[in-house]
């Protein structure tokens, strides 16, 4: 009796293995074209979770720090996509400018970082009045610390609020150009002007 049962079990095992092999063999992977390259343009080669990317200037001082909870690197496009990036732009004996956004694209070779989605730049320290820019998208060149956008931008500092369309900013020189449709308000007494929200 037991011989008969073990025979059935062996037979069932054989059937299962055959079915498994068949399944594996006929996977729905499309026929690979002959000239298929080993890595495709859109194939990422690295995933970084809670990464921190640092850049130093020629004299070895920290120039930029980019932090993100998630980053994906695409080697062929030389591009990294980073989620909720936070960027600190450092200058000698000055408080860093902090840039936050919903998403960022970093192009290593051009040292270019495109930030989009609820982008705001803040600078606040004890001796300088707080400064805050907000816009929908901007481009930051990390080597020259130059920021540019053609989108509407709002600038809030202790004196008041200024809005415009299009902006260029040179962080090192603390200089800003507003490119069109400039509308500003100077509060007479700084206490009237709202403190820009942190």
């Amino acid at each position: 009796m037991t011989d008969k049962r073990s025979l059935i079990r062996t037979f069932a095992l054989a059937i299962t293995c055959t079915a498994l092999v068949a399944l594996l063999y006929t996977s729905d992977e499309p026929e690979l074209p002959e000239n298929y390259k080993a890595t495709d343009e859109n194939e990422p080669d690295a995933f970084v979770v809670n990464g921190s990317y640092l850049e130093f200037d020629e004299t070895g001082n920290l120039a930029l720090q980019l932090e993100s909870h998630q980053g994906v690197h695409f080697p062929n496009a030389d591009q990294s996509i980073v989620g909720t990036p936070s960027v600190k732009i450092y200058q000698e004996n000055q408080v860093p400018w902090v840039v936050n956004a919903s998403q960022g694209q970093y192009f290593q070779e051009d040292r270019k970082l495109i930030l989009s989605g609820d982008v705001n730049i803040t600078r606040s320290n004890s001796n300088d009045p707080p400064l805050r820019f907000s816009t929908e998208e901007l481009t930051l060149y990390s080597d020259t610390q130059f920021i540019t956008t053609d989108k509407p931008v709002k600038l809030e500092d202790r004196l008041g609020t200024t809005e415009a369309t299009g902006m260029n900013a040179w962080v090192k020189e603390r200089r800003v150009e507003l490119l069109s449709k400039v509308r500003g308000t100077y509060a007479q007494d700084p206490t009237h002007a709202q403190e820009p929200k942190e």
Binding site: R174, R175, V182, G184, T185, Q188, D189
Partner: protein, 166 residues
């Protein structure tokens, strides 16, 4: 711009450049600066700030034009100059080069005019160009016609009435 006013100063322009380290903002292109009933129009306006306070406004135009409405007297003051400088602390308006100030029918013209926006005092000066073309100050003051001065007299309470009121 408006004596003793706490209203915010509003500014519109085509472009602007802000130098945060020097506290200077330069506005260019059809610049309009307003505060309450006062308005300044120019091609270029530079705003100087110190310790987060606006201390000086410099307007350049062809000419730059400042208007101020005295709502109590329903009288408008118009000031013109190639350059108009507003000193916030003294609330003083300086009109430089081709300066002209007009209040109703009265007008002052010269190379430089200073206008105290609080006490409404005008100080005018000719130019010492030194090339023989010195410009002198020109004042045109229209005497008040008898009816207007009579109206004003009847509107004012006489001494006896004054003392009765006190």
């Amino acid at each position: 711009l408006t004596a003793g006013s706490d209203d915010p100063i509003r500014i519109e322009a085509n472009q602007a450049s802000l130098d945060d380290s020097k506290g200077i903002a330069t506005y260019v292109g059809r610049v309009v600066v307003t505060q309450g009933p006062s308005k300044l129009e120019a091609d270029r306006v530079v705003i100087f700030t110190e310790n987060n306070q606006l201390v000086r406004i410099e307007a350049h135009g062809d000419p730059a034009h400042f208007t101020q409405l005295d709502t109590a007297k329903a009288q408008q003051t118009d000031a013109y100059g190639d350059q108009i400088i507003y000193e916030q602390r003294e609330e003083l308006l300086k009109l430089l080069h081709n300066a002209k100030l007009q209040q109703g029918k009265n007008s002052f013209q010269g190379d430089m005019i200073e206008y105290d926006t609080i006490n409404r005092i005008v100080n005018a000066k000719g130019s010492e160009a030194g090339d023989g073309k010195n410009t002198r100050v020109e004042l045109i003051i229209h005497p008040q016609s008898r009816e207007t001065s009579a109206d004003q007299k009847s509107a004012q309470p006489t001494d006896s009435e004054d003392s009765a009121q006190n």
